[in-house]
Structures are given as structure tokens and as C-alpha cells.
Symmetry: C2
Subunit: 410 residues, 2 copies
């Protein structure tokens, strides 16, 4: 059996998916700010959405659509304005957008998902959305380039676009999962991250796909944090159009495992890319917890380490101030005995143990500095109390984070 491999492209890599983008001038000028994904045929859809009590109108729209189990065929996304805290007028913008797709492409409005990212508490200009949809409907293409352009159009404070595609085997067929995501600030996903859209030509039962999605999101997007702020707009959706022609996955067999492996790979790639591109970030900051008492404890510990402002500032300053990481573990909500804990700093430059059995070890500061200066720094913690691991990803806290977010209405 051929192994899973990464291939060029993103959301348009699977069979039957097209994308396009346009400059609708919703809020940004001089750049594209709308994107569209459309399948040639209706898709099975799975998704996860923000747990924030304040949900954007589009999140409510999509959540209902996914929960109903009905097919989804297209997604329209805009950047610049989040369509959150916008009341009835916000819902109207969703409906008008979906109706514009029906008008242009004949795709039924109730199969069109919508997503927004940007400033909260500002109304979307419906006329510009409608014009944007009309324009994008003419430009839909299966080219890799159109997927890339779409992944760029949904960026806000992101500095790089995020997309990936992998090919894997299902029985005697090849299937593809492609994906794009955005997210840089207000990132502390709870159920999923800012915006991520995945496409696949695999044929899979809806409930099984939702299960795979929930588990993959929990291990990837739900393990990243930039600033502890869970957004009002977090949306993850996977659309499957079945055009790979594989025998439909209806049980947790080998094909399901192959599908899930590919899905987790794509999710983890996009999540890490998002964490490393956190607002103002100079580094990807990873916490690896091993041998915790429970899975939940391992997750709490790893997330608390990468979520601490003081840990993040220490990583920015290349300061081996390991006490801050132990402090963050201490308030994580996990129960443990500090006398069991071992802690290392690791990167491509080496590994250095700094804490063991409740006491600090003396270590060479130059070695520590060399390790911490790398672009991807890991804090590894052995709890020595069980056998549950977890990994979380974040970024450093920098002057530029403050600059970006103190700037007017970013």
C-alpha cells in the first residue's frame, strides 16, 4: 500500500472542488478579501464551531446546516468584518450571500455555508458581498493557484497563507484531503480554531466523518493558543464529495484509519502553521507532556505552558526561566506532585534538562541560550505519574503582538 504523501495545492486538490477569490473591498482596500469553495456535486459535511457564548451570525448559520445532516455544496468566506454581535442584520447578510450563490450558480442557498473573520460589532455591506459572489462565481477553477488565492483572501493579520493537501489510499483508489485555514490573533480554540476549510473526494458516512473530525480537531486546532482569547467565529468544516470513487467508508475499518490519519496530518499541519504565525510571533513554541495521570491532565498541562504570558515572554527573550513553566503547570487545573516532574528545553540545537525531583539542576547558560534561539522551541515535561501524553503549540509574546493589537480597530 502506498503511503500517505503530501502533494501540491490546497482545497482544490481533491477531485471536483473549485475555488476563486476577489477584492470586494468589504473593509480592506487593495487586496482580495473574499473566497469561495464550490464542489461539482453536493457534499457530506462535518464541522466544529466555537464554544464562545457570543457566536457570529455565520457560525450559527453553519452550525445549524451541519447539524441538520443536509448536504453542503459551497462555502463563501470574507475577511475584514466578523459579522459577530450584529443581531438580525447579521443573519440577513448570511442569507443574502447564500442567495447570491444560488442566483449565480444554481446551487441551492440552503447548501451554502458562510464564514467571516475580522472586526466584531460591525455590519457587513450586503451589496459588496453580492457583487463579490457574482464575480467569484465566474472565476471558479480547479487550478492549484485558485486554492492558493482563496487561502490568501481569508487572511487578516496572518503573515503567511496556510494550505496543504495529502494523497492517501482507500482500498484500490486514491483519495485526497486538501485544506486551508487562517488565524493569527484571538486564537485559543475551543472546539476548533479560527477558520479552517478542508475538502476531500473520499466517500465516507457522515456520522463517521464527524467523529473523525471531532477527534482530529481536538488533537490539533484545540491544542494551539496565541493569546488565550477564544474567538466568536471559530469554524472548522470538512466537505466530502465522494468523487474518489472509493468503496464508501461505513465502519471503523482500515480505510477509516487511513482517512483519519490523513485528516489528522492535515489538521496538525495547519494548526502548527497557525501557532507559529501567531500575531507578532518570532517562534513556534511547543509543549510536550508525557506520562501524565490522565489524558485530560496532559492536555491541561501542555496548553497551560504554551498559554502563559510569562512563559511566552521568556521564550521571546530566550530566557531559560523554567520556573515560569512550572508555575503555569501549577495553575493548569491538573493535579500533580512537583517532586515527580522533570523538565527539558529542546530544539534543533540540542536538549537540556533543567529540573528534576522538585529541585533545579545547575546548567550551562550558553547551552540553554543556543537551544532557545532556535525558531521552534520545545519544553518537554515528564510527569512520571502515568502514561498519558499531549502536545500543544503556541508562540512567543512579542512587542509586535502589542503593536498589532493596540493599533486602531485591527
Amino acid at each position: 500500500m502506498e503511503k500517505m504523501i503530501t502533494i501540491d495545492g490546497g482545497v482544490t486538490a481533491p477531485k471536483g472542488f473549485k475555488a476563486s477569490s476577489t477584492a470586494a473591498e468589504i473593509k480592506y482596500k487593495g487586496r482580495e478579501d473574499m473566497a469561495m469553495i464550490c464542489s461539482e456535486v453536493p457534499c457530506t459535511a462535518a464541522g466544529t464551531f466555537t464554544k464562545n457564548m457570543v457566536k457570529a451570525a455565520c457560525v450559527k448559520w453553519d452550525r445549524e446546516m451541519v447539524a441538520s445532516g443536509k448536504p453542503v455544496q459551497a462555502v463563501v468566506i470574507n475577511s475584514g468584518i466578523a459579522n459577530a454581535c450584529t443581531g438580525e442584520e447579521g443573519f440577513r447578510a448570511c442569507r443574502k450571500t447564500a442567495e447570491a450563490v444560488e442566483k449565480a450558480l444554481g446551487v441551492p442557498a440552503d447548501t451554502v455555508a458562510v464564514a467571516s473573520t475580522g472586526v466584531i460589532g460591525m455590519q457587513l455591506p450586503v451589496d459588496k458581498l453580492e457583487k463579490g459572489v457574482a464575480d467569484m462565481s465566474k472565476k471558479l477553477s480547479h487550478d492549484a493557484e485558485s486554492g492558493t488565492m482563496a487561502s490568501k483572501a481569508i487572511m487578516t493579520t496572518d503573515t503567511v497563507n496556510k494550505e496543504i493537501a495529502v494523497r492517501f489510499t482507500l482500498g484500490d483508489r486514491e483519495a485526497v484531503i486538501g485544506g486551508m485555514s487562517k488565524g493569527s490573533g484571538m486564537i485559543h480554540p475551543n472546539m476548533c480554531t479560527m477558520l479552517a476549510f478542508l475538502t476531500t473526494d473520499a466517500d465516507i458516512d457522515r456520522e463517521l466523518m464527524q467523529k473523525a473530525v471531532s477527534e482530529a480537531v481536538d488533537e490539533s486546532f484545540n491544542m494551539i493558543t496565541v493569546d488565550g482569547d477564544t474567538s466568536t467565529n471559530d469554524t472548522f468544516m470538512l466537505l466530502a464529495n465522494g468523487l474518489a470513487g472509493n468503496k464508501k467508508i461505513v465502519s471503523e475499518d482500515e480505510d477509516y484509519l487511513s482517512f483519519k490519519e490523513a485528516l489528522l496530518y492535515v489538521c496538525t499541519y495547519l494548526a502548527k502553521k497557525m501557532a507559529g504565525d501567531g500575531e507578532g510571533a518570532t517562534k513556534l513554541f511547543e509543549a510536550v507532556v508525557i506520562n501524565a495521570k490522565s489524558k485530560e491532565d496532559a492536555r491541561k498541562l501542555a496548553r497551560s505552558i504554551v498559554g502563559s504570558n510569562l512563559s511566552k515572554a521568556a521564550i521571546f527573550g530566550c530566557d531559560a526561566n523554567f520556573g515560569r513553566f512550572l508555575c503555569a503547570m501549577g495553575y493548569s487545573g491538573a493535579e500533580f506532585d512537583e517532586n515527580d516532574v522533570e523538565l527539558w528545553f529542546e530544539s534543533s540545537e540540542g536538549s537540556l534538562k533543567v529540573f528534576e525531583h522538585g529541585v533545579p539542576l545547575s546548567f550551562d547558560e550558553d547551552t540553554a541560550l543556543k537551544i532557545l534561539k532556535a525558531e521552534h522551541v520545545t519544553v518537554k515535561v515528564n510527569m512520571n505519574e502515568g502514561d498519558f501524553p499531549a502536545t500543544a503549540w503556541g508562540c512567543d509574546l512579542t512587542y509586535d503582538y502589542v503593536k498589532i493589537n493596540a493599533d486602531y480597530r485591527s
Copy 2:
């Protein structure tokens, strides 16, 4: 009955309390870094301590002492090194410090509380502690100046010292509560704040005093946040020596209420002072929540608003980006309907309503800017769902917060 009034001084203001300080060169050079408070007679003690799983050796020492119900007569505090994550050697430092007080003053070692603040994961130099105690024992004084010097010696990244004293009436006597505290970073108290020591000459039953302390701390120190990092060293202690000569408070009568009012005033003053002096802060940032469904919800909402990095950065940038405050409310854990919410920005410069019934209001940006430029900015939220209020305090997130904490081993 005379009203409660603020008087000069701090921990030495109540009868029978002395203080002193010294430069022991524990870690800092060229400044005082040890302080001592001593009562002429043994005191009833009450306290609250960090809920962080990783507790400093001194926190464990004090917690046991307060829980035992035995009297406390002196407190020795050092800045520079936190004595956290220091194993058995850390406990030895506590014991040796207490024994040094017994040797110098005849005060039994098991009535000496100890506290530390500074770098986690570094051992205290016992010889310097002992020398410091010997020196301070000779300099103990009831002067207001000695209390002020003590409040300065316990500072770390604080930019101003924090002390206060109030006089109030208990029956036919006057009593005083004095206090000092420190705290600027790693401030997100859970049970209490960094370090706060209060003294009083009031005579009050120990259990009643503990009740008053727990309630006052919950409304004050537990409602401030600088960076979401609950420290390993949070310590709050109140020592009462009874020298005011009042009829001992043994029930929740009028005297108890007077005592509690004075206590809450002192705690709130110190807590707000701490929030406004958050690391790198330029402003005191207050969240006032009214008409929430429950007390717990009101507290969660207020704390989430002042704790959000994005809210804090917006306050720094004087940006009326109210969506970020609603977003922080949404992930606070409180349940509410955004359509009920009203939101105002307030300061000495005026009041401006920006959100109502689930939709943004149009407002004058110049007016908003004027209000947000003040040194004390309030976000007021009416939940319109019940009648429970809460207030929380924090500060803005600035370049200097990053600078201070990226600097080597602060």
C-alpha cells in the same frame, strides 16, 4: 460614631507593631530586599494562599501555621528569590530564618511567618537571610517610615510601593488596620494576591477574622489580574494583636461590620494599586458588571474582560474596539444572551454607550478616544438578566510588559 478615615502609614500604624528592612543582597544589589514585621505581643492570624499546585516552601510554611490556629508574632519577607520549586532545601531556608528571629528577639520560631517573591527555581542563600534577620532585629521601629521602608523592600518589578492605614471605631475604642502589598507581574490571584501583609490592633475571634479575610480577599485581590498567571507565592496574612483594647469581637455584630468594612477598604485599595501598577501598565482598567444572573457569573464576566490580552491591548491603544470585550465575556464561562447586553466606556472624561440589544450603536470616535485616554478606564456592562454585580481590575498590555518579561530572568 466617627467614620472610618485614612491615616498616614502602613503596617506599623496599629498599636504594638514594628517594622524594619535591610539590604541583604539576596539577589538585588544596591537596594533593600528584606523586611520584617513584629508585634510586641503574639497575634491572632488569618490568611489566604495561592491555589497553584506548585506552592513555594514559604507558602506551605505559613499555610500550616495559620491553619493550626496558633499565634503568629513576626513575619520575615525577602524579594529577589521566590523559594519555589526548591525541595527540602527550601524548607530549611524557612526554618533557619524563623530560628534567626528566635535567636535575635526571643520570639519563638514557630510563631514566625516567612514569605518570598522573585525568581522561581533558585535556592535562597541562608547565611544572607540570617545576617539580614540579625540586622533587622536591631532596627525594629514603630515609626511610619519603617513601615514604608518595609513596603519598598518587598518590591520586585513594582514601580511604586503600596501601603495604607485606616482608623475606625469599635465600641468606645479606636482601632487601626494597616497594610502593605507588592505585586506587578504573575498576577492573577486565586485565593489571594502576590504578597500582602495587614496588621491590626483590633481584638477579634480568630475564626470570625478568617471569615472576614476570606470574603474581603474574594472581593478585592481575587478580582485583579495582570497577566493571567497565578503565582506560586500568593500570600495574604492579617495579624491582630488586640492592643486597641476594644471589647473582643466574637459575633457578627456592628463592630464586626465596622471591622470588615475597614478591612475591605484596605484590601480594595491595595488590590487596585497593584492592578494599576501591573508590569508595564499605563492605565488602571476596570470592568463593572451589573445585573448578572448570579454572583459567580458577574465575577467571571468582570474577570474575563480585564484578563483578555486583546481587551488589554485595545485599552493601551485607546481603541473603542468593544467587540473584544463582548468576545471575552463570551468565553468567560458565564451563560447569557448577547441580545440583553448593554456596554459603555467610562472614565473621568465621560460615559459612552456603544452596544445595546445585540447590535452596535454608532458613536463619535473622538468622544470615545477622549474617554479612553484617561488613566483609569472603565468598561461597564449591564447584563439585564438578574441583579448581581461584580467589579474587577486589571491594566493595559504594553510593550513594556513584554520588555520586562523577556529580559533575562526577571
